[in-house]
C-alpha cells in the first residue's frame, strides 16, 4: 500500500499541486490514463467545492489531502475545518442539461466518477472519502 499526504491552501491556484501528485502516483503504478483522468476530475471537483463552499473563498484556510493506493483501489481523503456540507449524497443527481444550469455538477460528477463517496462531520472537522475501484465501472 502506498500513501501520500499534503496540505494546501484553499485556493484555486493550489489545486494543481494535489492533481499533479495524484497523476504522478497513479502513472507510476501503471494505472490506465482513463482511470487517472476520472480520479483527477473527481479530486478537482471536490477541492473546488471545499474552496467555494466549506471555506467560502477564504484563502487563509487549509485543506489536507491524502491519497492511498493499493492493488484494488485508490482512495482520496480530504479534511477541512470549514462550513459543514449541507447535502444528502443520495439525493445528488446530474442537472438536466436542457436547463443550461451553470452549477450543481460538482458532486454529481464525483458520484459518477467514483465508486464510493462518503462524508463525515465531527465537530468542526469535515472528512470526504472518495474511492475508485480498479477494473470496475462506477
Amino acid at each position: 500500500m502506498e500513501t501520500e499526504s499534503l496540505v494546501i491552501p484553499a485556493t484555486y491556484a493550489a489545486l494543481r499541486v494535489p492533481a499533479e501528485r495524484l497523476r504522478k502516483m497513479l502513472l507510476t503504478a501503471h494505472i490506465p490514463e482513463a482511470t487517472i483522468g476520472e480520479c483527477e476530475l473527481a479530486l478537482q471537483e471536490l477541492l473546488t467545492n471545499l474552496v467555494d463552499h466549506a471555506y467560502n473563498g477564504d484563502d487563509r484556510k487549509m485543506i489536507t489531502v491524502r491519497f492511498q493506493l493499493d492493488t484494488q483501489s485508490f482512495t482520496i481523503e480530504t479534511v477541512d475545518y470549514g462550513r459543514r456540507a449541507q447535502l444528502d449524497l443520495d439525493e445528488v443527481g446530474m442537472p438536466d442539461p436542457a436547463s443550461l444550469s451553470e452549477g450543481g455538477y460538482g458532486m454529481a460528477l464525483i458520484k459518477a466518477l467514483m465508486n464510493d463517496v462518503r462524508y463525515e462531520n465531527e465537530g468542526r472537522r469535515n472528512t470526504w472519502r472518495l474511492v475508485k475501484l480498479f477494473q470496475t465501472s462506477p
Binding site: G37, E45, T48, V51, M94, A112, L113
Partner: protein, 114 residues
Amino acid sequence: MTIEITTKEHTIRIIVLALNGRLDAFEAPALRKVCDDYLAQQVNHIVFDLTEVSMLDSAGLAVLVSTLKRTRLANGDVRLIWPRAEAAARILKLTKFDQVFQSIEPSQIVPRGF
C-alpha cells in the same frame, strides 16, 4: 426606366477562441472575461476550439454554458471543436452537454458553422 438596386450586406462576426491547457476553476475567470468582452461588443457567434484543452472541470464548463445562454438570448449560438484529450471530453459526456452543444470540425467554422 432604370432598375433600382438595393444592396443589403449582412456580416456575422464569428469569434474562434482556441484554448490550450487546463480549463479549470483557476483559469475559468480569464475565459469568462474574454467572453464578456466579446458579448459586450455584440459578438454572438462564438466557437470554442477545445482541441488542445487537456482538462476541463465544472467551472470551465460553466463558462461555456453561460456563454451559450447569453449568445442564444441574442439570437446567436456557440459551437465547440471537440477536445482531443479524453480527460477534457469526459465531463461533456457525463453532463450530457455533448447533446446540447453543437460540435463542428475546424473546417466547418465558415461558412457552415452557423
